[in-house]
Structure formats: structure tokens, C-alpha cells
């Protein structure tokens, strides 16, 4: 190409900043990175991801805790002998113990002593009482063998046939209540996740529209230099993928930090007796929960990018 006769430099032009050789660095992003709308959207996505991660972690923690409680409860059944003549009651306890020990699937039979029974009643009756004057039933705790399933229905029939004052409690109603509570929490959590997802998608749709409107000149210039819609959409998608990933990571990591902080409370001297936690020390989502939060972050980034792509395509139809 010959030198252009018109290429004389203008004397009035401001001097260029000193430049070294034309060593080119990575090209600038076609969609400007740092915009106020971009930073606001990072905050919105971070908050949404934080809420979704908290919800997901809590749901998984509730489910794990409920499962643990249920399995604890399911590992034990109790035989109760109603109070009556002490000699007769002792004989009935002995008979019930023999029946239980002869039942396959029962690993251990333990008759609660008067002291143990007293400790169980302490929260209601206080200490220092003489239980011999009270009609306190006798309790026999049966620990089940996890490798064998005992026939509890048959045991119940045998007990009630031979000892009319005996009853077998396998804690089913308690277990059912725990189960329905856990399922209720799960359903609520899923509902919350769906709402948070919808809110995130809507936020991204509005932010993308705003970004395309703000960068309309860029879109027009890209059109005029022959860019296909797919190319333009890809530029915005890349931009919003970064925003989604940033916001998602920020929100997800914050939620993880909250869960880890709660889990470390007992070690720091908060949370009271580990056997009887008084605050949210049970709220630990476990590895599955943290993996779920990681998946959530990826999903948020992906959904943000995909939503922006679809919105750009729709918006481009209005710009010729």
C-alpha cells in the first residue's frame, strides 16, 4: 500500500502517550467490563446465590439431622410395664425380658433401674423424690441388631398375650412426625430455591436489557461492521458469564463461610453441651451440601450467561 498523500499529521493533535514497539497485549473486551450496572448485578447475583446456598444447605442439614434422629429412634424400642403390685411387676419385667431376649433381631435388653427412671423423670418431677410411692411404670429398653430386622409385630402380640400390662413402643409416630417435618422443610426449601432462581433470572433479564440499551452504540457498530447476531450475543454472554461467576462465587463462598462458622461454634465454646445443642450447631450441610453449593454456583453462572444470550437475541431483533 502506497503512502497516502493525505496522511500528514495534524499539528493540533494532542501528543500521543509514549509508546514502545507495537507489542500487542490481549485485545480489549468488546463489551466494556466495568460498568455500574455490572457491579450492581454482581451484588444481586451474589445475594441471590447466598440465599439459595443458605436454603440448600439448611434443607440438607435438616434432612441429615432428621435422618440421624430417626435412625437413632429406630435403633431402640421400649417395653413399658404398667405400675402395680411390686412383686407382680418384677415378675412381669422378668417375663418380658425373657420374651425379648428370645426374639431374633434384639441385640441387647436393658431394664431401667429406679435411678435411671428417676433421671428420665427429673425434668418434670425434680430430684429427691421417693418413687416407691408413685405409680411409675417400668421401662425395658431393647437395642435392635442392625444386621437383622426383628418381627416387632409378633413381639407386640406375644407381649400383650402373656403380659396384659405390657406395651411395646417402637416410636413410629415420633419417627413419622420427624419424617413429615423433614419433608415439609424440604418442600419449603425447594419452593424457596425456585423463587430465588426466578428472581435471579428476572434480574439478569433486566440487567441484560439495560446493558444492551446502554451499549446500543456498540451493538449498532458491530452490526454495521458485519457482525452476526451470534457473535454479538456471544460477547454479551461472555460478559455476563463473568458477572454470574463472580456473583455466584461470592454468594456461595459467603454461605459456606456461614455454615463453617456455625459448625465451629462448639469448638469456640459456644453452643453448650454437644449432646444437647442449644443453638444451630446441628446446621451443618455436610460434604453433600458443600458440593450442592458448588453446583449451585456453576448453575447460577450458566443461567446468567444463557439468560443474557437469549435476551440479547430478543433485543437484537428490535435493532436493525
Amino acid at each position: 500500500m502506497n503512502s497516502l498523500p493525505t496522511a500528514e499529521k495534524e499539528a493540533k493533535a494532542p501528543p500521543a502517550p509514549p509508546r514502545k514497539k507495537a507489542s500487542r497485549k490481549a485485545q480489549g473486551s468488546i463489551v466494556p467490563r466495568a460498568t455500574v450496572a455490572g457491579r450492581a448485578l454482581v451484588a444481586v447475583v451474589a445475594i441471590m446465590t447466598f440465599l439459595a446456598s443458605l436454603t440448600l444447605g439448611t434443607v440438607l442439614a435438616v434432612r441429615a439431622t432428621a435422618d440421624m434422629w430417626r435412625s437413632d429412634v429406630a435403633r431402640e424400642v421400649t417395653i413399658q410395664i404398667r405400675a402395680g403390685d411390686p412383686a407382680a411387676v418384677d415378675a412381669q419385667v422378668k417375663a418380658a425380658t425373657d420374651i425379648a431376649q428370645g426374639t431374633p433381631g434384639i441385640a441387647e435388653v436393658h431394664v431401667l433401674s429406679q435411678d435411671e427412671t428417676g433421671r428420665l423423670l427429673e425434668p418434670w418431677l425434680g430430684t429427691g423424690l421417693d418413687f416407691s410411692d408413685l405409680p411409675v411404670p417400668r421401662i425395658i429398653v431393647l437395642r435392635l441388631d442392625p444386621s437383622q430386622t426383628p418381627d416387632l409385630a409378633r413381639l407386640r402380640r406375644t407381649l400383650t398375650d402373656r403380659i396384659p400390662t405390657a406395651s411395646l413402643d417402637d416410636h413410629r409416630s415420633w419417627s413419622r412426625r420427624l419424617g413429615s417435618m423433614a419433608e415439609g422443610v424440604m418442600a419449603t426449601g425447594i419452593g424457596l430455591l425456585v423463587l430465588v432462581a426466578i428472581a435471579t433470572v428476572l434480574s439478569v433479564v433486566f440487567a441484560t436489557r439495560a446493558a444492551v440499551a446502554t451499549n446500543r452504540t456498540i451493538v449498532e457498530v458491530l452490526h454495521f461492521v458485519g457482525a452476526r447476531d451470534g457473535f454479538i450475543a456471544a460477547q454479551f454472554q461472555r460478559h455476563f458469564l463473568k458477572i454470574g461467576a463472580q456473583g455466584g462465587l461470592l454468594g456461595g463462598l459467603s454461605a459456606c463461610a456461614v455454615f463453617l462458622a456455625i459448625a465451629s461454634l462448639p469448638r469456640l465454646g459456644f453452643g453448650g453441651d454437644p449432646e444437647n445443642p442449644s443453638i444451630l450447631t446441628w446446621l451443618y450441610p455436610g460434604l453433600l451440601g458443600f458440593a450442592g453449593i458448588a453446583v449451585l454456583v456453576l448453575l447460577v453462572a450458566g443461567v446468567t450467561a444463557l439468560t443474557s444470550r437469549m435476551t440479547v437475541y430478543r433485543t437484537l431483533r428490535t435493532i436493525q
Binding site: 493533535a13 494532542p14 507495537a22 461492521v225 458485519g226 457473535f231 436493525q320
Partner: protein, 234 residues
């Protein structure tokens, strides 16, 4: 200069652009362009002129496929523009270079990146066009302004950057909308010489201007729009 006429004999087979009885109205308003008929030949040079509000910009927008006519036929590179899908429009636009009066440079990209934009949107690797872009920028006198952002450039430099961007894709047809509207007469003359030079190298040029003095400096075909009608002065 001979008297103007509304031509149909200016339509020739093989023209880059053909307008036949083209009319355009915005919404339900009056027709902004009426029965416009003309053609643009390969390697030709023409001015498009007319008073403000006569329809120059609308005609330019039709030429770079930013608008579709409400009636009549427009053929661009042998294709009827009414039947093009968005991807085909993009492909046709790559054969047209456009220089806007307001430059339309992207302020967050360097001058080099702005000039290279038409090649970048084709998905080309930066290394494959670096030498070509650098050479063109030297040719238009912006060799030492490559890494500068447009807000730092003078009006003339912006205009030359916009022209370089329009040329980098080696267009067959160059449209320039008031390219001298923002520069002083001396620079306007230089820019005109640049467009003439381009035309000599085989690019058809349509230069929209209302600057009579500029047009008088180069004897070329004139397309004059008045009251929405086009008159051609060969």
C-alpha cells in the same frame, strides 16, 4: 454539469446497487423518499447531496441495510434486500464500508482495536491481521496513535480511524456520511483526496455531503435529493 433527471437508464446489469421506484415512510407518516430509482456501478464515484432533511440519511440507511423500503426494489450485489435474513445482511455488510459523520468509534477500545474490529468480528486471530491493520493505520497517518483511546484523538484523527475501519475489510463499496462535516476545509480536502485515491484502487464510493465547495473540487456524478425525490447529474 448537465441538468438533473430522475433516471431509469442509470440502471445497468451488474450494478453494485439498484434502486427501483423505492419509497419509504416512517410509520404512518408521509413518504420521506418517493420513487427513487438509480444504480451505482463498480469503481464509480458519486456525491449524494441535498438540503438538510431531504432524505440523505434515510437513503444512506437503506444503502447499508439499516432500513427496509416500504415499496420498490433494492438490489445489493445482485441480492434483493427484502428477502435477506439477519445472517445474510451481516455477510452483505462485510462488502460495504461505512464512515459515519459522528465516527462511531468505540471509546473503550484503542484506535488499533477499533480499526481491526471488522476483522475481529469475522473470528480471525489477531496475529493474522496485525500487520495489515498496522500498515493501514500508517497509511492513514495514525501509525503513532494505535494504542490511544478515541477520546484522546483529534476530530481529523477520529475521522481517519473511522475511514481505516471502513477500509480494513477491503469493501467493494464505501459509504461515507458527511465525512467532512466535523473537520476544517483543509482537512476536508485531504479526506476527499483520500476517497478519490480509494476509488482509483477499485472501490466504489458514495460520499454524502452538503458541502458544495467540496463537490466542486472533484468532477463526479451527483445524486441530489430534494423533497424525497432523487435527481441524478452525470
Amino acid at each position: 454539469m448537465v441538468g438533473g433527471r430522475k433516471t431509469s437508464d442509470s440502471l445497468k446489469v451488474g450494478a453494485l446497487v439498484r434502486f427501483e421506484n423505492v419509497g419509504l415512510r416512517y410509520g404512518m407518516g408521509p413518504e420521506v423518499l418517493k420513487d427513487v430509482t438509480f444504480g451505482i456501478e463498480p469503481n464509480s464515484f458519486q456525491f449524494l447531496t441535498g438540503p438538510s432533511g431531504a432524505g440523505k440519511t434515510t437513503l444512506m440507511r437503506l444503502l447499508f441495510l439499516s432500513l427496509k423500503p416500504t415499496r420498490g426494489l433494492i438490489t445489493l450485489f445482485g441480492r434483493d434486500v427484502s428477502s435477506l435474513d439477519p445472517d445474510e445482511v451481516a455477510v452483505l455488510r462485510r462488502r460495504i464500508g461505512i464512515v459515519f459523520q459522528d465516527f462511531r468509534l468505540l471509546d473503550h477500545l484503542t484506535t488499533y482495536e477499533n480499526v481491526a474490529l471488522p476483522l475481529r468480528v469475522l473470528g480471525k486471530e489477531e496475529t493474522s491481521y496485525r500487520a495489515e491493520v498496522t500498515e493501514l493505520m500508517h497509511w492513514v497517518g495514525l501509525g503513532d496513535r494505535m494504542n490511544v483511546l478515541p477520546p484522546v484523538l483529534s476530530g481529523g484523527e477520529k475521522q481517519r480511524a473511522a475511514i481505516a475501519r471502513a477500509l480494513i475489510g477491503r469493501p467493494e463499496f464505501l459509504l461515507a456520511d458527511e465525512p467532512t462535516g466535523n473537520v476544517d476545509p483543509t482537512l476536508a480536502r485531504r479526506l476527499l483526496r483520500l476517497f478519490v485515491e480509494l476509488n482509483k484502487s477499485g472501490t466504489s464510493v458514495l460520499l454524502a455531503t452538503h458541502d458544495i465547495a467540496l463537490m466542486d473540487q472533484f468532477d463526479a456524478r451527483r445524486l441530489v435529493i430534494a423533497d424525497g425525490r432523487l435527481y441524478v447529474y452525470e
